[in-house]
């Protein structure tokens, strides 16, 4: 293993985070706080409790997941797309690093960043609503797994994207709708039966549900199924990345 390279890329990517602190960390925190003000305090006070949990607290796991997904994808996709775009990827390709090392360092940095972000949002949320975490171990497990999985997914998008428009396409057209429709702001039990069934095809439902379970001990779907689905998506992303590097798709001529 070329540990020096992993360290160099990881620190390089994290330096990007600190350099763009305002954009990377502060702006998601602000927008999340706005959600709390609007959905938690303003509208939430008129919404009855869900499964015995105040609406303000109920949306916290969903909001963290929303940020975790979008940030993981945008961090990781930008991290690998940008060198491709400006041409500095030549150095990565000519370096004695394996594909595994490239993935570990880029995805690791993107995931670290979103985990830090998730924890900051959690801390911010605790200022607005009383929070308790019943299963902290599971909470961290879902946090890390989701960050890693969607950073991998973002990495794939970054390699696939041929221009900035495509870079935004998947997050905007697929991920954001899936997250909003994935029970971030409601329990899927509140939906009519047909839509409930449709929702079960949305992978984000499982992430939000499992994550919420680790906070409150209640969930839309069994936590084991949530974990299984998350791992399945992680495996799918790993296979895709493996294939990309094996074939050099969109990276090497």
């Amino acid at each position: 293993m070329n540990y020096h390279a992993i360290r160099a890329i990881y620190l390089f990517e994290m330096a990007r985070t600190w350099r763009t602190l305002l954009q990377s960390i502060v702006s998601p925190v602000i927008s999340t706080s706005l959600y709390f003000v609007v959905f938690g305090a303003a509208i939430g006070s008129r919404i009855s409790e869900i499964n015995g949990i105040s609406y303000g607290a109920f949306i916290v796991p969903g909001l963290i997941m929303l940020s975790l997904l979008t940030q993981s994808i945008s961090n990781a996709s930008f991290g690998i797309y940008f060198p491709k775009f400006v041409g500095t990827i030549y150095e990565l390709l000519s370096a004695p690093v394996s594909y595994l090392e490239i993935v570990i360092s880029y995805v690791g940095a993107a995931a670290s960043k979103s985990i830090i972000l998730g924890l900051i949002i959690l801390a911010t949320a605790s200022l607005f609503v009383p929070l308790q975490i019943q299963h902290p171990g599971w909470m961290l497990l879902f946090l890390v797994l989701t960050a890693v999985t969607f950073s991998l997914f973002g990495f794939i998008i970054g390699i696939w994207a041929g221009n900035f428009e495509q870079l935004q396409l998947v997050p905007m057209l697929i991920v954001t709708p899936l997250t909003f429709l994935g029970g971030s702001f409601y329990s899927i039990d509140m939906l009519p039966p047909l839509w409930r069934t449709v929702s079960l095809f949305n992978p984000v439902v499982y992430l939000v549900s499992g994550f919420r379970w680790s906070f409150f001990g209640v969930s839309d779907v069994n936590v084991g199924i949530s974990l299984g689905m998350t791992l399945a998506f992680l495996a799918a992303c790993l296979i895709a990345v493996w294939w990309i590097f094996r074939t050099g798709w969109r990276i090497k001529a």
Partner: protein
């Protein structure tokens, strides 16, 4: 003496792009340890493709490349850690400092941090003053130096310079040559591509010419310079000749097809050019001429002829 193993050995290398374009055709090339090798060729000849394959940026279609005995595909770690690449395009990070980007490169190539070495490189390349500047604030010439510094950060044995002086002013170009020469003194093998003939003349030990994806000439620069040292004297005759007169045969003259010109080829580096004797003999033979001109063939001309013959 046992012949030294070449530091780079390219065998039967071909590259055909997905579009069907054949960029390299069966390239065979050995680079000796410690030499400066100049790869000359027009745009689109395949210079950059060849370098990109050796450095791992482009996959070869066929053939093998060994770098210091290590296969660039199978043994890519050992091969690549010995190679530094300065690509043609000025592609650098914008927001990083010079120090950070050069240190990053060293880590990327698997070497532990060594601030003293980075300092030395930056000083050698006159970048030390700029070490804390963000790269985007630097001029084009300075950025080029940064790219060289990055390529040297991991102490490579082989350095590829792809068009190192394209778009670089004269002063920087001379500086760059200085840097390359001092690198060679430390034992680094240097392969540079260029389409400036002057650069090859100034720097290289050997010159290879590539055109349409094929190597059409590999020669010692001294050999080429010898050819360069030749001059031609063309005499335009007042009366056309059927053949070179017998009394002039010792001069090795050539008669043009139309019989109106006599061409004498001589070596300017020789002790005697033989011109005085020739002119005297011409006078004695009663051959009068209207005009004369001398012409030196340049490397450029040899090169253009070679390339155009292939078209």
């Amino acid at each position: 003496m046992i012949a030294m193993q070449p530091i780079i050995s390219v065998s039967n290398l071909s590259k055909t792009y997905a579009s069907g374009f054949s960029a390299l055709k069966n390239i065979n090339l050995d680079i000796s340890r410690g030499e400066i090798f100049a790869l000359l060729g027009p745009n689109g000849a395949g210079k950059t493709t060849l370098i990109s394959i050796i450095c791992g940026i482009v996959n070869p279609t066929e053939g093998t490349v060994l770098a210091d005995g290590h296969d660039i595909v199978r043994d890519y770690r050992d091969a690549r850690s010995r190679i530094g690449l300065v690509p043609q395009e000025l592609t650098t990070d914008a927001f990083e400092t010079v120090w950070a980007t050069v240190s990053f490169s060293r880590g990327l190539f698997g070497k532990p941090a060594n601030p003293a070495h980075i300092e030395k490189i930056l000083k050698d390349l006159s970048l030390w003053e700029k070490k804390d500047s963000k790269i985007m604030t630097l001029s084009g010439g300075m950025k080029r130096r940064v790219m060289i510094a990055k390529a040297l950060s991991h102490e490579p044995q082989i350095l590829f310079l792809d068009e190192p002086t394209a778009g670089v002013d004269v002063e920087l170009r001379r500086d760059m040559w200085e840097v390359v020469r001092s690198l060679r003194e430390t034992g680094v093998t240097i392969i540079l591509t260029t389409h400036y003939i002057e650069e090859a003349e100034q720097m290289a030990d050997r010159v290879g010419v590539i055109s349409h994806g094929e190597i059409i000439l590999i020669e010692d620069k001294a050999e080429l310079m010898h050819k360069l040292g030749r001059k031609q004297l063309t005499l335009q005759l007042q009366q056309r000749l059927e053949q070179v007169p017998a009394e002039l045969s010792s001069h090795g003259l050539e008669l043009s097809d139309d019989g109106n010109e006599l061409v004498y080829t001589y070596d300017t580096q020789g002790e005697r050019t033989g011109i005085t004797a020739l002119l005297k003999d011409l006078n004695d033979a009663g051959i009068r001429f209207k005009d004369l001109q001398t012409k030196q063939s340049s490397l450029e001309e040899i090169f253009v002829n070679l390339v155009s013959e292939r078209r």
